[in-house]
Point group: C2
Chain length 703, copies 2
């Protein structure tokens, strides 16, 4: 066979002559596009002459019409550069630079007369985005996607921080392993969830964070997921190739398209410094500017809520203990209360008092509305109406009381996955919110989706999540959607999407626990697409203190909980623990009160996925800075260089540190608070306990 | 083996001792319920000592929990009788008597502790209804139906008037054959449709009309289909047993249930006179009384509309000839009109003028709104917004103009099967109607359902149709839903459901034609559940007169078209032809103008399914009667006994008769109109042409 190899090489070289190449503005990244054998589109990505993505195929397999896979010729090539800065409504920095080199390739297929598609590449200093575009044309209108055939051919058996690929949930613990070990570890990685549908022994979620043996950090995700199904990655672990794997619908199709249209962007963020991954704004830059003319009503929110006491099992969402209720047919006031219903007027007022006293913006109340007795796992279509409170929850009185205290109420819309039912009630639900002083909603999609057969991450559900966001905008309502599809930077376009869950949040600390390295990974994975409502601030880390039957514990020290307000960027931050607990630790609680939730600048001081993260941020419009540092299960010393501070001034810092004997499991509540003065020349070494961290607030000394 | 038979008999007799028997009020019908081997519930039905339904099993097969199939004991038996009369909001008669004997059997299953179900039988003089009930109880809350196992064991190889069982359409021509011939005729019976999903070579639709060799007329259907999937019948053609076969959902399940709940009623209407089948009000009686407090806004409607000219191909629904449009992104006023768009202001005014001149209530306009260019077959989610007119359709001006002429506009909401999209726009669409003077809507569900994988007749879609009706009622809007599930008497409960299609309507006369016997069958099948918007009144039966490319013709004489206004009962009647044609036959058109659409009394004078029907009806609140007589492809003499008229008075009648040489194919427009006087003693023999009929209007002679 060997004698044929030179001939094949020649053939390949002949085609490579058509290759198109662009470099990133800083010249570190090189993108090469070419047609390989049979006119198959392909691309390669290099970083400082190291391969990030080896020659990888591109294409879309379709149903009913000829696929966009091969037989292509290059009809046109356009090169442009772009450089502008824009200001997000809220974010990690005041101004974001969107600077890239673009290659737009128009591809024609000889076999299908006059039909073209385009592949658009945008190469930034921090990575690559590419997408498929289907222009308006006579011979291409409607088509159905069978599978997107985008490949990401990796240069080696990288270390990966991965979750099992699943059409319904991302609430898994991250597994850290080489890619070659994925198959062997998949079974134990798939832990039970309220709704889950895995698809392969080597199926992975995005954002997928990887580190090569030669020190490259590579992150693969997507941007601007709109009216398309969410992409997973199917690992070919013989060749270390990741293949796009879209979420199917109820009949197994993967996308219904109408030209002119385009796919979401496929993103590859890459650097030889882990901190650059966290600093990347590539995904936001690939999203469209906001569509809203007025954004004055969109504000970051710091909140408390009637929530953790239900999560721990101390209280209940449900009013009574019935196992089956029919909305509108049951008079709740005639049923026997279970005595554990937290969302009652008197108790909510305690939260309002606490929020008001400590300057929080809002109070979330879950379990306020009829239907919680049988809300889960019944595939119940008409599960909530979103406007009818339990008899012990006085909406009008709480509206009045909260308003008198200068606090907003935060609405809760659990849908139980019953999407049709939610949409049917959505207008009235939002109108109810406006009428009763709510300007933000936490929505939830726990359990299997109705319509049955659809998945949380399919085109159908994705279309719904965006519908809920744009409809909310009509009412000037901010949305924090849990169990919805993972974010892909859409908050740039729709900034009232102020939060999402789409990962294993703090709640799992009460459901058996999160790994101690969990929050050192999330910023490299889940947070790449947008903020997470992680709900930090649990000071009573032993859940049994609230519910003797629950032996779970939070896998952090108390101080690490403080640090998360800085390391887990979100414009929506909860102080998730109970007021009674905060009242015992008001000195530490002061950091939660002080910490900003919107920022002018962000500096990633140190970071290594799975190990540690230290971030310093400047509060928006203020001369105040906050630093959070966290470590995994290992004690560690954080190195803080204050050179991000303006020169020549003195600052007073308050350091919230783990106690000397602190340990996330054995002694989590040990902490020490000290004050000191620093300048931009200060270097500080700060000890962190196992599962610990530190939090620092910084103010200019006013003389 | 024979020696065991006596033992089996004894065993069987032992159980039959538990049999429960009731008779109909007139004693003609006998219903026997018993538990057969293994505690399987069964029933038998006899009419005048002839078997109608032989011993047939009852039961529900479930998923995840033990099925309701066997192991039953009888826990309780309740016998009651009921007799009341009620007045429908609209109908074939002013007062309906609801008179039945009831047997309610409570069944317990030893294998499932403390779990019961009930089977409720209602035996009327005209047939049987039974349903399953699942009472509220501790051990039965939520369950999923795998299949309903109701059987209808027939006593012979009956002649049947059948349609192929299909989850998406009933728009098939009826096949008349013995049941044993179904399998052999199925293939040719399944003609192409815009959306179809057959399930078996012996699958049949309901209402299924049959005639036994010894002259029993038997009709099987269902009543009160609410939040359940529509029942088909799967024929076991070895044993002549019909098995219930429910419509599945996208994942193959057949019903999501929450106790307390019940199945729809399964109905068996039976008589030795065909006329009794048509006179039966059993299905309405098995539905609940209306839930609406105010029904004053619900009125029968006689209408014309911009419709037949599109059906024939003379005009178009679409404004331009583009093959792909995106709502909200296309400025239609900048596109090139195709010149065939019928729903333009000037043309609609012509219809309004015509309607006003001839006393019609309303004018339907199809194709008035943006989106018709690519509305069909694309699985397009956002296909219409239901509020945006084409640039040549001036909603405000037409509202003003119609109001000034005393005519209502009738809205058209084609959904293209995209149910989510319709529900998203429904409130605004109904509000738009109210704002612009529309009080009724013709809705349509052409094409495959979105969410994909759901069927037109599944629980999901059925739930939607009823949602659309009840939501419309909030706005005092009447609904005429096409391509929705076949009616099951729900118009008693929701009388704003004034029409449905759910069968092959007049439109098929322009799509190749309906059989000449079509309308002699429909009253025995499709119309058993409720009125049909059949859209009669086509005077120009040669479609080529409107569109030279269309060789279809209407398979009736002109006069038979008149007769249909009486034989095809509906509170919603269209004069479907074009004003230009009616203007050529104003003498015959007079009958359409005169005929009532709401009735005090109905007399079925003669009837034989597939052959002929003659019906006389008294107009509601007036001393006016109308008679319609129709025949199939055979010429026939109608026998009209006027003894339904009050005695001792003289009446003037106008007889609209086929011309002597009339023939539905060769000479359809030949007719003769004559006047005469009659009394209650008059007997009239009236000749009908092949595919013909007659229509008679009757007024008291005022001296």
């Amino acid at each position: 066979m060997n004698k044929f190899i030179p001939a094949l090489f020649l053939f390949a070289f002949g085609l490579i002559a058509e290759a198109q190449e662009i470099t990133s503005p800083d010249k570190n990244l090189t993108l090469k596009f070419s047609l390989i054998q049979n006119g198959v589109p392909s691309y390669e990505l290099n970083y400082k002459n190291k391969p990030v993505i080896k020659s990888s195929k591109l294409g879309i397999e379709t149903k009913d019409i000829p696929s966009f896979l091969d037989g292509f010729t290059i009809a046109k090539v356009e090169n442009t550069t772009f450089d502008e800065s824009w200001n997000p409504v809220w974010g990690e920095q005041k101004t974001i630079r969107n600077h890239y080199t673009e290659l737009l390739v128009t591809l024609a297929q000889k076999s299908v007369k006059d039909r073209i598609i385009k592949v658009r590449f945008r190469l930034f200093n921090d990575g690559l985005g590419f997408r498929y575009e289907f222009p308006e044309q006579e011979n291409l209108t409607y088509f159905v996607i069978k599978e997107e055939r985008s490949q990401f051919a990796l240069a080696g058996d990288h270390k990966a921080f991965w979750l099992p690929g699943d059409f319904d949930t991302q609430e898994y613990s991250t597994v850290t392993s080489n890619l070659s070990e994925v198959r062997g570890k998949m079974k134990e990685a798939v832990t039970p969830n309220a709704s889950q549908q895995t698809f392969s022994d080597t199926g992975l979620q995005t954002p997928l964070m990887m580190k090569s043996k030669d020190g490259l950090y590579i992150n693969i995700h997507e941007a601007a997921l709109v009216d398309y199904s969410c992409m997973h990655l199917e690992l070919d672990d013989k060749n270390m190739v990741l293949n796009a794997f879209l979420t199917p619908d109820a009949v197994g199709d993967k996308g219904y398209m109408q030209a002119p249209t385009q796919s979401p962007w496929r993103t590859i963020v890459v650097s030889d410094k882990a901190a650059d991954i966290l600093a990347s704004k590539l995904i936001l830059n690939l999203n469209e500017p906001t569509k809203y003319e007025d954004v004055s009503w969109i504000k970051p929110v710091k909140y408390v809520g009637v929530w953790w006491e239900m999560i721990t099992g101390k209280s209940s969402w449900a009013y009574n203990d019935m196992t089956s209720v029919k909305l509108g047919e049951l008079d709740y006031s005639k049923t026997k209360p279970n005595g554990k219903h937290a969302a009652n007027t008197a108790h909510v007022k305690e939260y309002i008092d606490f929020a008001s006293k400590h300057g929080f913006d809002a109070v979330l109340v879950e379990g306020w509305n009829e239907g919680w007795e049988d809300w889960f796992g019944k595939s119940k279509d008409y599960v909530f109406d979103f406007v009818t409170p339990y008899p012990d929850f006085d909406v009008k009185e709480l509206h009045r009381y909260a308003a008198s205290k200068g606090v907003k109420m935060m609405m809760h819309h659990e849908t139980s996955g019953s999407i049709r039912n939610y949409e049917r009630h959505m207008d009235k639900a939002y109108q109810f919110m406006v009428a009763n002083g709510y300007n933000s909603v936490k929505s939830g999609y726990v359990g299997d989706i109705i319509p049955r057969g659809e998945y949380h991450y399919g085109q159908w559900a994705n279309n719904h999540y965006l519908y809920a966001i744009t409809k909310a905008a009509e009412y000037k309502i901010m949305v924090n959607a849990h169990e919805a599809v993972r974010p892909t930077g859409l908050s740039r376009t729709y900034p009232n999407l102020i939060g999402n869950e789409a990962a294993r949040g703090t709640e799992y600390e009460a459901f058996g626990g999160n790994n101690a390295d969990h929050t050192t990974i999330l910023p490299f994975t889940r947070l790449m697409g947008g903020p997470m409502d992680y709900t930090p601030g649990i000071f009573q880390t032993k859940v049994s203190a609230y519910n003797p039957d629950n032996n779970s514990f939070v896998h952090t020290t108390l101080v690490k909980q403080l640090a998360l307000y800085v390391t887990m960027y979100s414009p929506l931050q909860m102080a998730a623990d109970l007021p009674e607990t905060y009242n015992k630790h008001l000195d530490a609680f002061q950091f939660i009160k002080d910490v900003a939730i919107d920022w002018d600048e962000t500096n990633i001081l140190e970071a290594e996925p799975g190990d540690y993260i230290t971030i310093a941020r400047k509060a928006k419009g203020k001369n105040e800075w906050f630093i959070g540092g966290i470590t995994d299960e290992n004690a560690r010393v954080g190195n803080i260089n204050f050179d991000f501070l303006p020169k020549g001034k003195t600052y007073e810092v308050i350091i919230y540190a783990d106690g000397k004997d602190a340990h996330y499991e054995k002694n989590p509540q040990s902490y020490a608070i000290k004050k000191m003065k620093v300048t931009s020349k200060t270097n500080l070494k700060q000890q962190m306990a196992p599962g610990g961290g530190f939090a620092i607030s910084i103010k200019e000394v006013v003389k």
